[in-house]
Assembly symmetry: C2
Homo-oligomer: 386 residues x 2
């Protein structure tokens, strides 16, 4: 048994290869197969109204709670390609289904990369043909094949009582509100109903992938799959499943934050002192997306005035005269007024914690993970499609 | 009579000097005085809930529609300084009032610069003392004194039938929703009631300063004053006044866009094909704030997929399968699908027009002005307070 990733749980095999979709010549296709005995699944998708063709197909595939395989490609998002994009996504799923001897409606598909270019279907077809006979203990190779501008492959493994949860993910830019240009696949050999999987996945996504906000941009392709083979013969309680999926989601989200495009600082923004958790998320997100704040973080500059200017525009209850801000646990602003020596707080490390209390006597509290806005972010994203 | 700026209209004098508030040693204080015979005024302010002390004072000053003078300083925003900030702003207004022999409630004040540092009141007091005897035809010097990271002074002049409207403004970063870290002062020798001035200023701001969105950040200090002396003896119609204030606002807003922090591209985003103008503004703003889109513009990269990904998250009616995008008048995406040769559109010029049709049969239409996201924006804003 593999010690990391999606082939760690019993009942799963994977394959990966270079089909020639990425100009770099790096591996760019992967296939994950659930060999059973159970084929239960759940998934969450982007909230963007403009969705890629593979998202449409995968939504249909998971609707009945049964998924036997998921095909991945990187280098081309197959988004905004009209009916031809839908046809291409469906054709690749049908090819996988035929080679595996399963129904096309039990196969999901995920694509990531450039928007608005047709998939090179000759390369995709040749790739699928070779992926199926290559299936085996290749979770790590699959995690590498789904990378785009990711610098490192992202995998996780969580051990339950007699069962295992594995995962892989990719995601570096266009990261926001609901999920983050990211594809994630979790596998488990636990025996769990689609309803149990769905509950665990939604609860975990809400506090991990949904609050990872690198640049406020929401992808057309975001997808997280959770596949369960039941091969361990163990049925965890809902609480055990929730805890494992949350731990795995936190691990992958943390790896995405650390590998975000151009990142030099990992910034954790927590907001409290407002009426509801939802308001706290709004305020934390408003700050996490503020370019002036993000540039200050890049410069290790404790410019707390920008924190105040940003949260002052947030849709959250606040007392504008009683806002407090803490950088790395040190008060830099209390009651909307700077503390002595606030400018001398040391933000030179790679991790920065920002805590904002909006001054209202309420239970609202939320955390959003983001990064700084660096020269490299601009560089990477000003030359992506060309 | 001066040929440019706020001292062009009859009845206005101005002064400017270096008080030592800016570390650069550049001029940093200015005073604009309306010598009458009328003292009517209107103003609009930031919508941020965290507002600077000068905004509080100026709101009170303009409440009765009468303003005789406005004091400006650059280099220190006097924001988030608690009750001491309010006291300092009030003290400077009282000093101006005393030296001019007017009521403190008829004096406005505007500050711009770093948030969270107390004003150096010894320097401010000495500055005010010298400003009053220096009053004269110095509109241009005043426009220079209110600059922060602005590279050029921003002035305008609009000629009516027997009357004149002049203006100055500053604003380069922290530009967004409602106004844009900007201070603007318009003067006119027209005779107009506070109600007429208010109507003209609000109508013009809505389609100029309110839709100038450089970085999605909304300042704590934004203020636009419109002062009328009546010295020309001419009373324009409301339509004439509206037209002149709109023309002057467009001129200043265009100058701000052209001088925005790190700008290499002036990007005009127009959205149509949605239900209401408000929805069109929402979608245009969502796109104008999208960092991936802005980076693509910096790279002259016609990556229209990012336009689709951004508007797909906007709070606006749309048909996700019928969205069209035009770069500089050339269709790059029709019915949510790329056109042939879409990637070859030339965006190498400094001005880029983006038109998005959301595919709904509705009258909504709006334009937002923004800029690209460049290395210089990151550089300037990662080292501002230190």
């Amino acid at each position: 048994m593999s010690t990391t990733g999606i082939t760690a749980p019993a009942g799963f095999t994977a394959a990966a290869l270079t089909a020639g979709i990425k100009p770099s010549g790096n591996p760019d296709m992967a296939l994950v197969v659930n060999n059973g005995p159970e084929f239960n699944a759940a998934a969450v998708f982007t909230r963007n109204r403009v969705v890629a063709s593979p998202v449409k197909i995968s939504r249909e595939a998971v609707a009945d709670g049964q998924v036997r395989a998921v095909l991945f490609n990187a280098g081309n998002a197959n988004a905004c390609n009209g009916v031809q994009g839908d046809r291409d996504a469906r054709a690749s799923v049908e090819q996988v289904a035929e080679l595996l001897g399963v129904e096309p409606t039990d196969v999901g598909v995920c694509s990531t990369g450039l928007i608005g270019e047709l998939l090179p279907m000759d390369k995709v077809r040749a790739g699928v043909e070779k992926l199926v006979p290559g299936l085996g203990d290749h979770g790590n190779a699959a995690a590498e094949a789904i990378m785009t501008t990711d610098l490192v492959a992202k995998e996780t493994i969580v051990k339950g009582e007699g069962w295992t949860l594995g995962g892989m993910g990719k995601g570096v830019g266009m990261m926001s509100p609901s999920l983050a240009t990211m594809l994630v696949c979790f596998t488990t050999d636990a025996s769990a109903t689609p309803e149990m999987l769905d509950e665990a996945l939604r609860a975990a996504s809400k506090v991990t992938f949904d609050t990872l906000d690198i640049d406020g941009s929401t992808s057309t392709n975001d997808t997280v799959f959770l596949l369960a083979s039941g091969a361990s013969g163990v049925t965890p309680s809902q609480e055990e499943l929730n805890a494992a999926v949350l731990e795995a989601s936190e691990d992958i989200a943390r790896q995405m934050q650390a590998d975000a495009e151009g990142v030099t600082k990992r910034v954790t923004v927590t907001v409290e002192g407002t009426s509801t958790d939802e308001q706290a998320v709004n305020a934390a997100r408003t700050l996490a997306r503020d370019n002036l704040f993000k540039c200050a973080m890049f410069g290790s500059d404790p410019n707390w005035g920008r924190v105040l200017a940003a949260v002052g525009m947030a849709d959250a209850d606040m007392d504008p005269d009683r806002i407090s801000v803490y950088f790395n646990g040190q008060a830099v602003c209390e009651n909307t007024t700077g503390t002595p020596n606030a400018r001398e707080v040391d933000l030179s490390g790679a991790d920065i914690d920002v805590l904002v209390n909006l001054g209202v006597d309420g239970p609202g509290r939320a955390t959003v993970r983001t990064t700084d806005l660096s020269h490299d972010y601009v560089h990477i994203n000003s030359a992506y499609s060309s």
